[in-house]
Symmetry: C2
Subunit: 146 residues, 2 copies
């Protein structure tokens, strides 16, 4: 049995936490999404096209609603850039997202800032800010690769 | 002579740093903008409608270009929310912005995440992410109040 290599540097740990978030998003499994967030009343999330959500209760409820109304999310990320200061880290990355919802399919390229804090040795998401980039949509070729 | 009260709590210090950024923006004075940023190659800035800028050199150059082409910026902020973890802090706030540029006037409501780090005792901006909120523009009444 092949063992997954353990992330070693702090930067690798943060990138792994960032990846775990996107895997939770792809899975549409609310339990997986809950596992990657710090569940505090001060966490925040700005979904594309929405207003800022304040606190884990609002953030969790919206993820549950999104997962409920979404049949499939195809998402790939590129250009991840990490900065770590103490127990806080933030990642900038580009998301290439195609979403199949009850009312149709949408595609977008999104610039994201994801902030993590190290809590009991584990990096957890505490803030997410997304911006759809105007005039950019994922290419059909890219979507096929997903 | 009236003395300005010194910010006391960490949260007040961060809010003062956030305010200093907006005062620099209003002033259109590049020296003031330079004074509120940490000038490192890992700072980042996402202006509305642009791609992410990486590193102080790019960030500074774009601010200089924006200030050069802008006659006036009217900006007020609301709903600032602060979180501090060690020497890192991030502020979410809504910006109500009216910009007079060479080619006309534009108005927008923008959701911002501003990240600061404490460097030699001073909170400096290291990351800025902005998202224009769709369907929201500043009201004429609001603009008059600026």
């Amino acid at each position: 049995m092949l063992m997954q290599p353990q992330p070693e540097t702090e930067e690798e740990q943060v990138l792994a936490a960032n990846l775990a978030f996107y895997e939770a998003l792809r899975s549409l499994d609310i339990a997986r999404m809950e596992a990657v967030w710090l569940q505090e009343d001060w966490v925040r999330c700005l979904h594309p096209g929405w207003e800022l959500l304040l606190g884990w209760e609002e953030v969790q409820r919206r993820w549950a609603a999104i997962f409920h109304s979404t049949r499939q999310i195809l998402i790939s990320i590129s250009r991840p850039v990490v900065q770590i200061v103490g127990d806080t880290a933030w990642v900038s990355c580009l998301e290439d997202v195609t979403t199949a919802q009850e009312d149709g399919i949408s595609a977008a390229v999104i610039e994201a800032t994801n902030i993590f804090v190290r809590h009991r040795g584990k990096w957890l998401m505490v803030h997410r800010h997304t911006t759809p980039l105007p005039g950019k949509t994922s290419s059909p070729q890219h979507r096929i690769l997903q």
